[in-house]
Symmetry: C2
Subunit: 793 residues, 2 copies
């Protein structure tokens, strides 16, 4: 059983994908409604497909260019293997596949949800959530399947499927990082491109349709309305799918890298039932278990009453969610106990080796689950309807757009306080429990329910689309009311989902950051060195500029859309009377072209800066260790600033959105009930316009920006020293184990040379009746002398 | 001559203050106009005085509390001397005095400027700039005078005015840090309180007066109009005066601390004509020279034509400014050459000792001057009338407030790109030239023209007030036109002044940060340690939350103001017809009370957090070295994030302001000329409302937040190890110099004990015919053995 453990994530992923297929067939079998509905749904489907095809064509070029660059690097740098290119291409392909699958099922589910909503709210939820489930399981299943298969392949290719040394495993994992890099690169473009698309169409449709022409949202006379609905799918569904696919892969990978270093700290060799790689397999096992748990969780999401309100739907989702989180906690306990040695040695920077019991690793995973939940709650507080922050923004709307916007900005900014304190506590606690391996496993536990989270997230835009189709096909108002209940719950889950995404991305980045430090073999990142400090500043600036570029991109694309809609209103006869047919495809084309064009610059910024920081100083002959620290400082700057700006932008955007929504049911301002159409409501609409790119374009891109930055660092790491033999680097000369009955003695030696002198750091690990003792000794002198001393041990 | 150099800054400061006095008398002798003008001016003067008195009463309580706390600390911690309490009190007093003086002269100058503007623009400039000069020289003179006198006193008290050792000088400078702490604490409250005051009054006056009642700005019928004009003085004048006073002191102090460490790196002793403290005196000398240079610079600011336009006024200011910067460069060259040894040894972290020639120190000062100027230019580009970013915001105003605000936010965000790159280059280059001493001197050179900068800055609000008085006293429109020319130039100088302030504050913080690391005696700040990384996140969050609190405070205070103005409009008969007299004092009282109440929480946050980070882990028995690194991580987080948010907020606010102003002369949007009163203009006004607290409250507070945080760290530093003898700390056992003819040999010893073992780091510095050779040796063993080895050297 244990020796086959390496295959178990593959099996679990396949089970998840099979269940997904069954669910998918069930959804597709549902009634897709009558002619008009079907026609609109087909328009949306075709628009989304057109965008994805155009996007993939562009990304194929990108993948080819990066592959060539990686091939060149692997040709020049001896420690980088050419297989990284293959891993990169497959990572990119799987990520695109996951997004594509999700988008397809979402655009098929929307119309079926509308049709179901004509008769039954429980059925509508069942179908829309079913679509979300297909999406979630598809993404998670592909992530676990792809990553595990590549790991098995590289483990076999480089090590013959048998543990040899930490150094060899490092090569396996460095090559595997290519898969993650591919996934995350596609995610960046999918998120940013999709985010620009959806908001350009949304803002463009609103500015001319709602404001100038005075027709309602989703009115079929508005030429941009199809583009708007396509946007929901390419941004909120395909973009988010690629995003979480990338997160999932990166988190598991980072935990595996740090698991490898746990083995190193334990003397480079452990004997367990899992072929000596238990700590490396554990994150994959948790991910695999998470898929099955998510399947169970999704089964629990149901309501029975046709008159259910938002709160009942929310409760159904919460039950599914909390049960999955509970099950993840239980399975983490079992897996940690089963797969890890009872006690481990871990190197704590500046504090030396520590004995860590496996129960502490479990504690770290619990930290991840608690903080993930807590950050989602904080997000819900700051963006939730009826909560104090929203009520304050509503109140400030009475004195105009200016005060509404100040209040929204301030809410987003204040919300960083509890979020960052929680997040800092998570770093601290999970590190205190089990070092950076603990941090990585906290992230892994948080991400284990990705499939469930995605199902909850994706059902929102599906319901939103279902409402749009109901409106456009002129259904009975009760249909729209039912989809609106689902949509409104979807807005809340979208906000908490963003909280979850940024929390997991941040922990993942930290784990990648730790992996980076170990890959480069530097002593740490000392910001008291001026060049490192300078890079901390530069890194901190990147998320700010990235956000600005994304916001400007939305503005530009929206302007083009506005002009096209105005043109159609003017030139197409009978369009306002419903007799002339708007040219939907022109608007779809504008959104597509504009978003593809505008995603270039932010993408270039993200990928280019780490390369410039690495290679420009290299050309000037700077020491590669210093460059490694500088790049580390840059990564830390991007992460800290990126997390702050993500929380700020997501929460401010969510708060404005719900402040505007509050007017639909009416709000009390200065003792007077105020409704839609009032001056205060207009101010709130302005706030929402500002919030749109915040929460749907720039804010969610921050996750990918920080993860991709850290991944690029990880891929560059071997170039910056790592386990090469240049200038004062460390040469592992091997490990020999002597085992006598119950007592085992293990001597690990690391030799460094400085000029003529050889320095040997020796770790003597003796185990006697389950007690482990570690002695660290250092020898200096000529190589012969040192070797003589070591032989005495 | 050389031996008296320590007194020269005192002399130069006194000369500056004398010139200030002459200028002040001249300004006060000018015609203060007729009855109505004088009455209004008196109202403003009394309002400002009332605020400052209320503020000082509150701050006196604060000073007493902090003094007691400092006294307790100095009682418990052996390395902290009680004299720090005295230094703190005087620092606070001098800072308050500087702000008070500036405010008084500004409120006397405004009406005289109005009076002069009735006949002559050149005279109006001469008077308003004269008032600014008085303010600038007062602040700079007091800063140099106070700091130098305390230094002389402590140097005498602790060392008998004779160089003994780096450790003794460290005690002198640690005690002197109290002066800087006092100055910066007052600056925080003055800036934040003043910032809240001015914007609450401004926004409140506009919302009811301009928007609801439809009366023009500064109309005497508006009860909040006096409060609005008082606000200009307490925020832009007194607040900024205290801010730059604090910066000036902190910069010079940080450079002195690092100068002391240069002496340490050179073996703990140098022989120069300045009593062996040349590197410590240099920053004071530069500051002293800067005062005289500023006097010269201010003399050059004049125009001759009564029909001059903005560009001529701007040119006059630029001439004065550039000449002073040129003179500072020249005097830096002379002073560096004269006061520093021809070559120095400086310890570069991780790279060991390096030989640094004095010309490299000069190069570092030039870096400071160039980058200071370049960052001001960047600011001018992003916020200047007629520049591309402003034109884009104007264009986006045509589609409503939402797009205007997105464009403004994006402009502020994008502006961090060149600013941060410049700033990172400055860190890098000045450090590469002369280590952290170079960074500190770059900041010192930048700050040398503080008096000139303040004169340029302060003349803006004076002219703004003069315009207000012209309006309220119903002068001939030509008077307002003339003051508007000055005011408009003042808006540009205000923006560039903020760029200058943040650049200097950031460099100062870095120098303080470096001083902190040396004070605590830690090896650096390694963000690969999880608790340090966690604190980097927490530090990064503080400026964001601080800004939000400041913005909310403005919102709350403005709301109170709105209600009061509405009440007066309703209840005072004949107020709108000009027959009923508005109760100006009620509005002044509201602004005063609200701003004092609302400045508490941000202040508490700034001062409380570093204390919590230090003392809570201490209570739990955490290693003080780890705490020192954590606090360092926190400081770095605050600095990086604070600089980013300062640039973002200042530039976004400035850009919105000028986008709005562009409509006054008319702008071309989509081929149509658009003016004040258009829909696009209304959108721009909304943007400006959002920008007001950004650029005048939260943005400029960032400077003080980062400096004060680093200063608190510096004052805490001795508690966190420093030169105490706890756990593995370093005990300096002294230095002995043997000098034989032209050859001198110097042996510096630092002993550390780890358990039984003693480790001695020995630096042997031999100088022969001007060539210096440094050998570093390490001995380990019992104390007796080690001492024996050392005696052989």
């Amino acid at each position: 059983m244990e020796s086959m453990m390496i295959y178990s994530p593959v099996v679990l992923a396949v089970i998840g994908l099979l269940y997904m297929w069954v669910k998918r067939s069930w959804v597709l079998k549902q009634d897709a409604g009558d002619g008009k509905m079907k026609e609109i749904s087909d328009h949306i489907y075709e628009g989304a497909l057109a965008f994805l095809n155009a996007e993939y064509k562009l990304l194929a070029i990108f993948v080819v260019i990066v592959s060539i660059a990686l091939a060149v690097v692997s040709f020049i740098v001896p420690t980088t293997h050419w297989l990284i290119v293959i891993a990169f291409i497959f990572g990119a392909f799987f990520s695109a596949l996951a997004g594509n699958m999700g988008m397809k099922i979402a655009t098929k589910t929307n119309v079926r949800t509308t049709q179901a909503a004509r008769t039954s709210l429980p059925n509508a939820l069942k179908i829309s959530f079913g679509g979300g489930t297909v999406m979630g399981l598809g993404v998670a299943g592909l992530a676990v399947l792809g990553l595990t298969l590549f790991f098995i392949f590289f483990f076999n290719f480089f090590m013959g499927s048998v543990w040899t040394s930490t150094a060899d495993m490092t090569v396996v994992l460095e090559t595997l990082a290519g898969f993650s890099l591919g996934a995350e690169s596609i995610a960046l473009f999918a998120r940013v491109g999709g985010g620009i698309y959806t908001k350009a169409a949304d803002v463009g449709a609103d500015l001319v349709g709602k404001v100038e022409a005075g027709i309602p949202e989703d009115d079929p006379r508005n030429p941009a309305t199809i583009a708007d609905n396509v946007g929901d799918n390419v941004g909120d569904v395909a973009g988010m799918g690629a995003d979480l696919f990338g997160s999932y892969v990166a988190t598991v990978l980072a935990a595996m890298v740090l698991g490898n270093y746990v083995i190193k700290d334990m003397g480079g060799n452990i004997s367990d039932a899992f072929g000596g790689i238990g700590p490396i397999l554990l994150p994959m096992a948790i991910a695999g278990a998470g898929i099955i748990i998510s399947v169970i969780g999704t089964m629990l999401v149901k309501i029975s009453s046709n008159d259910a309100k938002e709160s009942q739907v929310m409760r159904a989702l919460n039950i599914g969610n909390w049960v999955s989180i509970g099950l993840v906690a239980a399975s983490c306990f079992a897996l940690v106990k089963w797969m890890l040695p009872e006690t481990m040695q871990m190197e704590f920077f500046g504090e030396g080796l520590k004995e860590i019991s496996s129960i502490r690793v479990f504690a770290a995973t619990i930290v991840g689950l608690i903080v993930g939940g807590a950050i989602s709650s904080v997000t819900e507080y700051y963006t939730g309807l009826g909560k104090r922050p929203i009520l304050k923004i509503v109140e400030k709307s009475s004195t105009g757009a200016g005060t509404n916007i100040i209040a929204g900005l301030a809410t987003g900014m204040i919300s960083t306080f509890p979020s960052i304190l929680l997040f800092a506590s998570a770093i601290w606690a999970s590190y205190a429990f089990a070092g950076f391996y603990g941090v990585a496993l906290a992230a892994s536990a948080m991400m284990a329910t990705t499939a469930m989270q995605l199902a909850i997230d994706a059902f929102g835009p599906i319901s939103d689309n279902a409402g749009g189709i109901a409106e456009m096909s002129e259904q009975d108002p009760i249909v729209r009311e039912r989809t609106d209940i689902l949509d409104s719950v979807g807005n809340t889950t979208a906000a908490t989902g963003k909280g979850f995404a940024i929390a997991s991305a941040a922990l993942t980045s930290l784990a990648l950051f730790a992996a980076y430090v170990t890959f480069t073999g530097i002593d740490g990142i000392n910001i008291f060195k001026a060049p490192v400090l300078a890079m901390l500043f530069v890194g901190g600036m990147i998320p700010v500029v990235f956000s600005a570029l994304a916001m400007n991109a939305v503005g530009k694309a929206a302007m083009e859309m506005v002009q096209e809609v105005r043109r159609q209103f003017k030139t197409i006869p009978g369009i306002m009377e419903g007799t002339g047919k708007p040219e939907y495809d022109k608007c779809v084309a504008i959104s597509t072209q504009a978003s593809l064009k505008e995603m270039m610059l932010p993408g270039l910024l993200t990928i280019g800066f780490p390369l410039v920081i690495t290679f420009v100083p290299m050309l000037f002959g700077m020491n590669s260790r210093t460059i490694a620290e500088m790049l580390g400082g840059y990564m830390a700057g991007v992460t800290v600033s990126g997390v702050l700006w993500a929380i700020f932008q997501n929460n401010a955007g969510g708060a404005w959105d719900n402040a505007k929504k509050s007017f639909e049911a009416g709000v009390m301002i200065n003792g007077e009930m105020t409704y839609k159409g009032s001056e205060a409501h207009k101010a709130a609409v302005t706030g929402d316009t500002v919030g749109d790119p915040f929460k749907d374009t720039s804010g969610p891109s921050m996750n990918i920006l920080i993860k991709l930055t850290c991944l690029i660092g990880l891929v560059i790491a071997p170039i910056l020293g790592g386990h090469t033999l240049e200038e004062g680097a460390t040469e592992p000369v091997g490990t020999h184990i002597e085992s006598v009955n119950e007592t085992s003695k293990q001597v690990e030696v690391e030799m460094t040379s400085e000029g003529e002198e050889t320095i040997a750091k020796v770790r003597v690990i003796t185990t006697e009746n389950g007690n482990t003792n570690v002695e660290v000794k250092t020898f200096k002198g000529s190589k012969a002398e040192v070797e003589k001393e070591i032989s005495k041990l």
